[in-house]
Symmetry: C2
Subunit: 106 residues, 2 copies
């Protein structure tokens, strides 16, 4: 593959790659959310996403999540992993204490 980035028409295509969010019924109105609790709202959205993914047979996993950590001097890193549980205290995932994220979170 000849990699030269997406100059010219490709660049324009990627810049315009955005779904229209602004139809009236699609605007996010905080007063009309399923819940004002971030945990309840997350659960409602998670259930919606799970259903869409299941119905489409999509290769996506609804419990995929991004986790950011940072070193003490402010260098961030980020990785995707799978959500493994949740309750009123927060969200659970599995890792290894010796991994980069494990060390940065301790």
């Amino acid at each position: 593959m000849d990699y030269g980035g997406n100059s010219g028409s490709d660049r324009v295509a990627l810049e315009k790659m955005r779904r229209p969010y602004l139809e009236k019924h699609q605007v996010l109105d905080s007063s009309k959310l399923e819940s004002q609790s971030p945990f309840e709202l997350w659960k409602a959205w998670f259930d919606q996403a799970s259903q869409v993914i299941s119905e489409m047979g999509s290769p996506n996993e609804p419990n995929q999540m991004a986790l950011a950590t940072a070193t003490r001097d402010g260098r961030p890193s980020l990785r995707y992993l799978l959500l493994k549980g949740h309750d009123e205290t927060g969200f659970y995932f599995y890792t290894n204490y010796n991994s980069r994220k494990g060390k940065e979170l301790v």
Copy 2:
């Protein structure tokens, strides 16, 4: 909605919510990647993802990405945004210099 977390059978369901990755043809073998260049590999995977999303009519956006930043004392934050371009020097997105990510990146 009564939010009590996902104790009991729900918890088990979420823990087990994982697709099998380990069929032989699905194992990620670094010697068989489309390219050894991370930029070329990203482009190949991006094109694959775009095609799958387009064919399924999925609500996903192939150019969505997660961006982590951190304060100088190591407090990370993360948000999703849209990739707007790429070339051999890196990936481009749009933000505001006065936003949290804008300030933390300066």
